[in-house]
Every structure is written in structure tokens, then in C-alpha cells.
């Protein structure tokens, strides 16, 4: 049988062997945690605690009334030592609450439900919202918002994304193996909220142990192995692979009758609804060529990167580049003081050799980028438009449909910075649209 997949894509070196088999290690909370107020797509939360306040685990420390946002909870018990802008994985400073851990792990009152599937839809949705759950695959879109599509939308499928197509990362993989029950329960809860008729969990076929673990407990849920190909985990690509449906250009998945959530988000939903635990921890893969003992950690939100790398045995040599997320779409970091936020799927430390950039030479019009573009675009043309500031033409050629997966830059034999210029064009087009509408 042919494995389901999408058009285009690439086969990078996956480098997952080092951590794919290592069980999730629970990382003790560090002494000081920096909890950012900006951990999701949408409006950042505003701190509701002040310097000197004592906080308990799970206490709300940041919230906002804005529609697209998520509250932030304290990951430890202790004392607030500062409320000030601190370095964020995006590179600039964002408002954060700094908490001195007292080591007692005193919780706020938690509400348990032994059979959470019996709860009514609105109660589950409210619990997901209050727990501050956001897309844990790296997107960070508030889960409660994503689970509330417009009233007239018919949701046929809830697809759980277990592809984890980024090289190096194994956090979702380990979650599926070790927390299969919780992932399945989370899927059921989310399906109840959005009214999906069918639940599908899509897993890349390079994770047979995860597929087996889920299949043993699946019941009515369908576990679909999908081809091991990057970017299989892209929302639109996954929908196409699993259901054969296309999300319209610039559209949202519900327009194709689907809602996609990450498997780690499903785990967080189970934790929130069943155990009353807000989103204060996540699984982070700490790996890369220069890390001594690559591992998967269950870390508290707000843990500095340095602490994680130390727990992974430190560096063999000075790293050339440190990434949040995988090497394809990950974001370079400038400091190890940066804390973990809800969207940090992994930390990858690459050696100087691995992180050097090849010199780019002129385009030979081989169109390999066209062959691999999963969004059916012509990256070579878009790059040329971007370099020559032809924003209108770039928009005409569909620049805004680019999902920024980087397949074009990866495959290019001339090593051209294709994605960089497409991104520039996207930003300029968005800015021009904003000017037009204002």
C-alpha cells in the first residue's frame, strides 16, 4: 500500500536516532525561572502579580481580556523577584515574570475529573482556555480559539499531528510512546469541543513504536501512518495527505472541514481537563552534534536554556548555532539565558561546521525548488521579485501562500537564499496591505 503524503517536500537527514529511544526525563525546576508573558500567537498577557508576591504552582500570573490570547500560570511555587522585560526566544525583550523557586512545589487547588469525557462541551472548552493551552507544535495559536470554528462550519475530521517532520526533534515522538493514553483522551476531549465526526492521528512511518502504542489504545480513532517526508507536519500538507482535501489559498483548515492539533497539545488538554493542571510544562528535546548527552526533558516553562543544556551534559565544543525548534524552521538564539516558552519543541546545538552557510551562486533555473515546493509555488521567481523589490508581482505569484518550510533553500544546488527573500516579500506585501486598509 502506498503511504499517504502530499506534493513536493524533501528528505533531509533526520538525525533523530540519538534521542528517539531515550525516555522523557523529568527535569527538576531550576532556582530561578523567567516566565514570558508572550508565549502564544495573539495579544501578550499582562502580568497580574508584582515584585515580592508569593505564588503557587498553577497560579495565574498573566492574563488579558483579548480574544486571541492565553493566560500564563506560575510553573513553580515561590516569590516573584522581578516583573520586567527579559530576553525572549524571538531575540528581543518581552515582558516577563521572574520567579525564585522555593522548591516546595505547593499547588493551587486543582479540580480532578476521573471521567472528563462526560463533561459538557462548554465546560471542557472553558477549562482548555483557562489552562492557557496553545499549539505545542511550535505555532502557539491558542487551542481554545482553534477549537471554536465559526458556527456554520462543519468539522468532519479532527486530525492530531504526530508527524514531527523536523529533523532532530523527538519530543512529540516520545509523548506518543509514553503518554499514548493521555494523547487519545485529549483527542476525544477536543473532538467533543469542536464537534468533529472522526478523529485521525497521523504519524510519520519512521516512528513505528508510536504507531503501535497508539493503535493498541485507539478504539474508534484511526491511526494513519504518513510518509516520512518534510514538511509532512505542515497543517495544509497533513490535511492533504490524510483527507485528500485542499485548504483554499489564504484559507483556514475549517474551510476544508478539518481542525489540526499537535499530539502534545492533546496531552496538555488531558492534563488540564482531567488533572486540573494548566500549561506549565512541556517536553523539550535537547540535542545536536555538540551536545554531550542528547535527551528529552519534561521541563517547566521558564527554564533557561543553559540549565537544559547543562542537564544534557553540556557541550563537547563551542556550538556554532543554537536553534529553538529544528534546523529547517527553527529560530537561531543569541543567548543561553533565554527561557523555555510553551512553543519550544526542542533545542538544537549545531557545531560550527554544521552551521556555516555555503556561498550562493547564480540561479541556473533548474526548477528543483518548484518540484519540492509543497505550496505549489515558484520560489525562484519569488526570490527574484523579492530581490528586485517587485512586491506586487510577488503577491501575484502567490508569495502569501508560502508556508516558509525552507524546502526551496534546502534543495537549491546554487544554495540561493530563496526563503529569505520570499519572507522579505511576504512582509512587504503584508505591510502594503495594512497601509491600503488603513
Amino acid at each position: 500500500m502506498r503511504v499517504k503524503t502530499f506534493f513536493g517536500g524533501i528528505h533531509p537527514k533526520y538525525e533523530k536516532e540519538t534521542t528517539a529511544g531515550s525516555p522523557i526525563e523529568i527535569l527538576p525546576a531550576p532556582e530561578t525561572l523567567v516566565v514570558s508573558m508572550d508565549q502564544h500567537t495573539g495579544a501578550p498577557a499582562a502580568p497580574v502579580v508584582a515584585k515580592g508576591d508569593t505564588v503557587k504552582v498553577g497560579q495565574v500570573i498573566g492574563e488579558t481580556s483579548h480574544g486571541i490570547s492565553a493566560p500564563i500560570h506560575s510553573p513553580v511555587s515561590g516569590k516573584v523577584t522581578a516583573v520586567e522585560p527579559r530576553l525572549h526566544p524571538c531575540g528581543s525583550s518581552r515582558m516577563a515574570v521572574v520567579i525564585e523557586n522555593d522548591g516546595r512545589d505547593e499547588w493551587v487547588e486543582r479540580e480532578n475529573h476521573n471521567d472528563p469525557v462526560q463533561l459538557d462541551r462548554n465546560t471542557i472548552l472553558q477549562k482548555i482556555k483557562d489552562a492557557g493551552i496553545v499549539g505545542m507544535g511550535g505555532g502557539g495559536f491558542p487551542a481554545a480559539v482553534k477549537l471554536s470554528p465559526p458556527k456554520n462550519a462543519v468539522i468532519d475530521y479532527l486530525i492530531l499531528n504526530g508527524s514531527e517532520c523536523e529533523p532532530y526533534l523527538t519530543a512529540d515522538h516520545r509523548v506518543m510512546v509514553e503518554y499514548a493514553d493521555d494523547v487519545i483522551l485529549g483527542a476525544k476531549l477536543m473532538a467533543k469541543v469542536c464537534g468533529a465526526r472522526k478523529i485521525i492521528i497521523a504519524v510519520e512511518d519512521n516512528k513505528p513504536d508510536a504507531i503501535t502504542a497508539l493503535q493498541e489504545r485507539a478504539g474508534a480513532i484511526e491511526i494513519v501512518p504518513v510518509a516520512t517526508k518534510y514538511p509532512q507536519g505542515g497543517e495544509k500538507q497533513l490535511i492533504k495527505a490524510v483527507t485528500g482535501r485542499e485548504v483554499p489559498s489564504r484559507g483556514l483548515p475549517f474551510q476544508a472541514g478539518t481542525i489540526v492539533h499537535n499530539v502534545s497539545t492533546a496531552l496538555a488538554v488531558t492534563r488540564a481537563v482531567r488533572d486540573g493542571e494548566p500549561s506549565i510544562m512541556r517536553v523539550v528535546t535537547v540535542t545536536g552534534g555538540v551536545v554531550n548527552e542528547p535527551k528529552n526533558f519534561l521541563a517547566r516553562i521558564g527554564t533557561p536554556f543553559e540549565y537544559l543544556f547543562e542537564a544534557a551534559g553540556g557541550f563537547k565544543e563551542e556550538p556554532g548555532k543554537i536553534l529553538v525548534g529544528g534546523p529547517m524552521m527553527g529560530v537561531t538564539q543569541i543567548s543561553l539565558d533565554t527561557p523555555v516558552v510553551k512553543t519550544v519543541t526542542g533545542l538544537v546545538a549545531l557545531s560550527k561546521d554544521d552551521s556555516s552557510l555555503p556561498e550562493s551562486i547564480p540561479c541556473i533555473k533548474c526548477a528543483r525548488c518548484v518540484d519540492v515546493c509543497p505550496a505549489y509555488l515558484m520560489p525562484l521567481r519569488l526570490e527574484a521579485f523579492g530581490m528586485n523589490e517587485m512586491w506586487d508581482e510577488a503577491a501575484e505569484y502567490g508569495a502569501m501562500d508560502c508556508i516558509e518550510c525552507g524546502c526551496c533553500s534546502y534543495i537549491c544546488p546554487s544554495k540561493r537564499p530563496l526563503l529569505q527573500y520570499i519572507r522579505l516579500a511576504k512582509r512587504e506585501i503584508a505591510a502594503a496591505n495594512r497601509r491600503k486598509s488603513s
Binding site: 531575540g91 528581543s92 537561531t332 538564539q333 543567548s335 523589490e389 537564499p417 529569505q420 527573500y421 512587504e428
Partner: protein, 276 residues
């Protein structure tokens, strides 16, 4: 009849018919154009820079002819073109709108300002700025990858060895392309006569500025106190100059401990300044 005569007659008749058709069409389908538009376009610089707010020189010429644009609306042409345009239209010359030039409000080049990372991507400030907010230690300062110089249609900006853009004022036409392209918003268009500039945009506290740059504004307020016309105010940890009040007296330049404020040579003190 010989072949020559036949062909002469037939070709001649056909030619006459086509000529007649064309003559009729040119009268019947003639598009009325304002002859002044062509004349105005003739005197414009013709670089289609868009600084006038129109799509190009032709469209500006149409705008002027139809009264939608002022006769001195072309900043590139200046007083000379304004006069010619006014002559074509037969209206009074309004003079030049006051020549402006671009000023770069950052002095922190390779020597003065620290970098916090090694950027290896394409040499474009806008792309560099999107990677972790740029590799410069100062999140307000010039990134130095020369996007302003590369977008300038008049070659009026060059990058110096210190990694800072230098505006060649005699070439600058204030078209504003560099202003729009700069991701750090550190280029502004200022009246040519103004010769004193606070070359810093950082709103960080003094200590934070010093830690990344040796020529950044630390908001010590000395310039504010020294200014005789009240042109300088310190707001959000940054000295800001009101060019409507500044008379190029250079008192602020003398007191600035960081050398952030710079006086340009060849721009004398302005004696009379109409209060605005």
C-alpha cells in the same frame, strides 16, 4: 496589359483606400490629450521615483495639468523644474517647496557599537532585522547592510568603511525610498539648511545604551539645558530636536558628552527663523 501596369494600379488603389481609412480613423477615434501634459513631462527629471506621491513622472504631469498636484510638487526637480512647470501652465511660480535631504540618525558603526551575534544571511538590513531582531547590540541602531544605499535611485547613499551609510547631500532628492526601506526607521528627511542632528534613536536607559554603543544618547539632558531656543527636549530617554526651532548654533554639540549630536560643516547659523 503588362504586369507592371496591373500591379501599379492595384497597389496604388489599395494604398489610397488604406490612407483614406487611416485618415477617417484618426479624426473619428482621436483621444483628446492635454498637450501641456507632454510638455510638463518633458521638463521633469524622468526618474519615476514617486517622491511626489504619484505613480511616476507622467502621472505627476497629468496631476499638475488637472490641478491635482502643485507646480512645485516634484522634490527632485526643485526650484528649476517648479519654475518651468509654472511657465507651461501660465501660473505664478510658487518657488521650490524647500529642499530636503536624508539624514541618518545613528553614529554607531563597527567601531562604536557592539554586535551580539554573527549574521551570515543575505546582506539586506530587512532580512537581517528579521533574524532575532538583528545582530546589532542596540535594537535601534543601523544594521549596516546597506539596504538604504541599494534602494537609492540616485546613488546618493554610500556605505563607509565603518559600516554606516553616508548621504551625499548634493545628489539626494528626498525621494524617501531609503526612509521606507530602513527597517530601523533611522533615516529622516530634513530641510537642507538644518546642520545639527542628534544621531541616535535609542530609547534605552543610559546604562543600557553605554553597554552596547559609545556614541549613543544617554539622555543626560545637557543639550536640553544648553539649547537657547528650546529646540531640544528629552523624552523616553532620548534627546529629540525640533527642526522648526533649531538655528544651528551648535551649543548642544559642544556639551554632548557622548558626541551623539553632530554639526555638519558648511551649514551656517540661521539668523532669522519664523516662529511656528
Amino acid at each position: 496589359m503588362s504586369t507592371t501596369v496591373v500591379s501599379l494600379i492595384s497597389m496604388g488603389t489599395m494604398g489610397a483606400l488604406f490612407a483614406l481609412g487611416l485618415a477617417v480613423a484618426s479624426k473619428k477615434f482621436a483621444v483628446e490629450t492635454d498637450p501641456r501634459v507632454d510638455e510638463i513631462e518633458e521638463v521633469l527629471p524622468g526618474v519615476n521615483c514617486g517622491a511626489c506621491g504619484f505613480a511616476g513622472c507622467r502621472s505627476f504631469a497629468e496631476g499638475v495639468a488637472s490641478g491635482k498636484a502643485p507646480t512645485n510638487g516634484c522634490p527632485v526637480g526643485g526650484a528649476r523644474v517648479a519654475k518651468l512647470v509654472a511657465e507651461i501652465l501660465g501660473v505664478e511660480d510658487q518657488g521650490s517647496a524647500g529642499r530636503k535631504v536624508a539624514q541618518v540618525l545613528c553614529k554607531g558603526g563597527h567601531e562604536e557599537a557592539k554586535r551580539r551575534g554573527d549574521y551570515m544571511g543575505p546582506q539586506d538590513c530587512r532580512i537581517a532585522n528579521a533574524v532575532q531582531g538583528g545582530d546589532k547590540g542596540c535594537s535601534y541602531g543601523c544594521l549596516g547592510y546597506g539596504t538604504c544605499a541599494s534602494v537609492c535611485p540616485f546613488d546618493a547613499i554610500v556605505m563607509n568603511e565603518n559600516g554606516l551609510p553616508v548621504v551625499l547631500e548634493d545628489k539626494c532628492t528626498a525621494c524617501g525610498k531609503c526612509v521606507a526601506a530602513c527597517p530601523r526607521d533611522i533615516i529622516v528627511l530634513v530641510d537642507e539648511v538644518q546642520g545639527v542632528h542628534i544621531r541616535c534613536r535609542s530609547e534605552e536607559l543610559g546604562r543600557a545604551v553605554r553597554s552596547v554603543c559609545s556614541v549613543g544618547c544617554i539622555a543626560c539632558r545637557r543639550c536640553e539645558k544648553a539649547c537657547p531656543t528650546g529646540a531640544i527636549t528629552v523624552e523616553d530617554n532620548l534627546a529629540r530636536i525640533d527642526y522648526d526651532k533649531c538655528i544651528n548654533c551648535r551649543k548642544c554639540v559642544e556639551v554632548c558628552p557622548m558626541n551623539t549630536i553632530e554639526a555638519q560643516e558648511g551649514k551656517p547659523v540661521i539668523k532669522k527663523k519664523s516662529a511656528s
